[in-house]
Symmetry: C2
Subunit: 81 residues, 2 copies
C-alpha cells in the first residue's frame, strides 16, 4: 500500500540559524519589527510503498536519519497518512 509521509525538519535548539536570522533582519527592514525568533527548517513530502503504516514509518525514519536530515544538528517529526 502507498502511504503519504510528511516531515518537518528543524534545527535543534541552540544551533545558530543563520538563514532564520537573515530573514528576520530583512523583515525588520520592511517594517515587520513585530516578528521575532524566525527559525527556518525543511518540509519534506514523499510517497512510500509499505505493507503497514508501522513499516512506512520505520522506512521513512530510516531514510530521514540516513540521508534527509542531519540528526546531529536537526530534529524531525514524521506524520504518516
Amino acid at each position: 500500500m502507498k502511504y503519504l509521509a510528511k516531515m518537518t525538519i528543524t534545527l535543534r535548539d541552540g544551533i545558530l540559524d543563520v538563514q532564520g536570522k537573515t530573514v528576520e533582519h530583512a523583515l525588520h527592514s520592511i517594517e515587520f519589527e513585530m516578528i521575532e525568533n524566525v527559525r527556518i527548517g525543511k518540509y519534506v513530502v514523499l510517497e512510500v510503498e509499505a505493507d503497514s503504516k508501522k513499516e512506512a514509518r520505520e522506512l521513512v525514519d530510516s531514510a530521514c536519519s540516513k540521508l534527509i536530515a542531519n540528526p546531529i544538528i536537526e530534529d524531525y517529526v514524521i506524520t504518516i497518512e
Copy 2:
C-alpha cells in the same frame, strides 16, 4: 500578545522540484526504492506580537507573500498558536 506562527511552504504542483528529485535519486541509490515523489519545501517558525490571533495571521500572511515565500511558484499554509 505573542503568537507562535508555523508555516509550511511548498512548490506548486507542476513546478519541477530539483532538490526533491536529487534526494529521491540518492535514496534509490541506498536501497530506498520504495520511496517516490519526494517534494522538498520550507518550514518556518516565528513569533509575532499582535493584538489578536486574526491580526497575527494577517501580519504573517503579509510577511509570507512579501518576503518569506515566492507566491508565483510556492503555496503556503499558516498555523497560528
